[in-house]
């Protein structure tokens, strides 16, 4: 199996506080890889380092054969790593469809000088972008609210918009930071369906999640962090039966069903 993302001895230091220590793991192509761990174990920090929001203190991150640690956020995004945020980061003054169209900004290649002088071409490009956004809006099931302001939508739908925006960047690897947090059971089910559907279209996924149901059901591979270090790795079944994990994360009373 080829690896799509590789972390090699990654360290993150926040002026003395070690958030991530010597973390190494690989995400294989065609897999849903989950990253779990108790609060403050460094999951989001890891995602932020992959996405280039935080610089790594030490170690290297590779995307395919390209070294991405040290690149800037937008460059990493252009390589094909899309992401969603733990706390929503939507464009609050805009509608659903506009939010998605910003995700597709890079798809429209025209420079501003050419735009100034060719009305027809500019219109075509905008139309193409809009069509693509409508496809995605359909895909995430928000077609009937596509012209609503994102802030007027319920939380679950806002999370969907974030996913849609990430999909608009045409990613090959999707980093989902707690996508199911704050969703009710039916919303969660919808979200899981979409994640699986997205995975089936050929997009690999790194999933950070607290909800054990979701994690155990959909991931192929799980990495467990505690206090910034990896304590276990394996398939869901292996993780369920791992003493260390049960002790650190799931509690003594966790039962294997």
């Amino acid at each position: 199996m080829k690896t799509i993302l590789k972390l090699d001895n990654v360290v993150k230091n926040f002026s003395g506080l070690v958030a991530v220590r010597n973390l190494s793991f690989e995400i294989e192509e065609r897999s849903i890889h989950a990253l779990i761990g108790p609060n403050g174990s460094g999951k989001t920090t890891t995602v932020n380092m992959i996405a280039g929001v935080l610089p790594v203190t030490n170690g290297e991150i590779f995307y395919g054969d390209t070294k991405i640690s040290g690149l800037r956020t937008f460059e990493i995004a252009r390589l094909g790593i899309g992401r969603t945020f733990q706390n929503l980061k939507l464009f609050g003054s805009m509608s659903v469809i506009e939010n998605l169209m910003i995700g597709g900004h890079q798809l429209a290649q025209m420079g501003i000088l050419r735009f100034m002088f060719s009305f027809r071409k500019a219109g075509q490009e905008e139309k193409l972008l809009k069509e693509k956004a409508e496809q995605i809006v359909n895909y995430i099931g928000l077609y009937d609210v596509k012209n609503e302001n994102v802030k007027s939508l319920p939380y679950g739908k806002q999370k969907m918009v974030e996913l849609g925006r990430a999909l608009m960047t045409a990613p090959k690897l999707l980093l989902l930071d707690e996508p199911a947090a704050g969703l009710n059971a039916s919303e969660r089910k919808k979200f899981v369906d979409i994640i699986l559907k997205t995975f089936a279209t050929g997009i690999d996924i790194l999933l950070i999640e607290h909800n054990m149901d979701v994690v155990m059901n959909i991931s192929n591979q799980i990495t467990v962090l505690n206090f910034g270090a990896k304590i276990a790795e394996g398939t869901p079944t292996e993780i369920k039966n791992n003493r260390e994990v049960i002790k650190a994360y799931l509690g003594d009373k966790f039962k294997v069903d």
Partner: protein, 334 residues
């Protein structure tokens, strides 16, 4: 054709005919000069809209930008004896350079600090223009500025300038609104809304911020050149902080982010004080109070009365003044 479209076309027709015959009806020289000033202000505000309106970077250096444009065009023509049209092009180039330079600090500093940086730029410009006497003429200014000659016409009167500036303002408004409603306008707004998410979409924020500053500076410098051509005399004290603030007031009063709003703002703020002149010494006070009331009760600008979600029947407008309406703050936390 539906009613709405017909009314729109009729209104637009009346407006354009009105604009075309306005200086013919009103022969008063002072008022004609005022109309020219309105067009210049429109151009400045449409430029300022890119950076302060859409991208949300508070720019208080507008006066410096206009000053640079005015002096660049004037001095180039006078020192090198070039045609004024070349001076206009030089002003645009000057705007490009200023925009690129002023854009860089905006990558490192934001908020209040950026505003201070732009004030700094504006003040430095003013001081250089005042004290570099050998080159700029110092605080005495530059008199007898040669007027623009184009197609055999010398634009030396407010009446002639009116039509030139009208055409330019319309062209620049078309371009501005094309940018506002394009992927660039959207991305500018996205920077204002949530800067972290923008780079996660693969957009280079640095490039966009500099683009916004550059567009603003090019509009501003061009307007500066038009100003020099209109009054025929420039002097550094014109380009002070008050002027910058005045343009921000136009931007906010009219409606941030919309070109129509910019136009309304420029017209209102330029002409309203003149209508209040009968109050003699009190007219600035009254104007300030009116502006303040607008800011409190119409936070989205005058344009929000006509468009968007604040749209209401004309009689509903009155109700607005009793119940201030704000942008709905949605909850983002779970």
């Amino acid at each position: 054709m539906d009613m709405k479209k017909t009314t729109r076309i009729v209104l637009l027709g009346i407006l354009s005919v009105g604009l075309l015959i306005l200086p013919i009806i009103d022969k008063n020289g002072y008022r004609q000069l005022l109309f020219d000033q309105v067009f210049i202000n429109m151009i400045v505000v449409m430029g300022l809209n890119f950076i302060s309106g859409l991208t949300g970077q508070m720019n208080l250096g507008t006066a410096g930008i206009i000053g640079c444009g005015a002096y660049a065009s004037t001095l180039l023509c006078m020192k090198l004896n070039l045609p004024v049209a070349v001076g206009f092009l030089a002003a645009i180039l000057m705007g490009f350079i200023i925009g690129q330079c002023l854009g860089y600090p905006s990558l490192r500093v934001s908020g209040v600090y950026l505003s201070l940086t732009t004030i700094g730029f504006s003040e430095i410009t003013r001081l250089v223009l005042t004290n570099w006497i050998g080159f700029t003429g110092g605080s005495a200014g530059v008199p007898n500025i040669p007027r623009l000659q184009l197609f055999g016409i010398t634009f030396d009167s407010a009446f002639k300038n009116y039509y030139l500036y009208l055409v330019l303002a319309v062209l620049l408004a078309i371009f501005a609104s094309r940018v506002v409603y394009s992927k660039w306008g959207r991305a500018f707004k996205a920077i204002r809304d949530n800067i972290e998410a923008v780079s996660a979409c693969g957009i280079d924020i640095a490039k966009l911020k500099i683009l916004a500053f550059t567009l603003a500076a090019m509009y501003g410098c061009f307007a500066g050149a038009l100003y020099a051509n209109m009054v025929g005399y420039i002097n550094p004290t014109t380009f002070n902080l008050d002027l910058s603030i005045n343009y921000l007031v136009m931007l906010m009063l009219g409606g941030i982010g919309s070109v129509a709003g910019n136009i309304i703002g420029a017209v209102t703020v330029t002409l309203l004080p003149e209508f209040l002149r009968f109050m003699q010494n009190y007219y600035w006070l009254v104007f300030s109070i009116i502006a303040l009331l607008f800011a409190v009760f119409l936070p989205n600008g005058i344009v929000s009365l006509f468009t968007g979600k604040d749209k209401k029947a004309p009689w509903g407008v009155l109700g607005k003044f009793w119940i201030p309406k704000r942008e709905k703050e949605g909850k983002t936390e779970p």
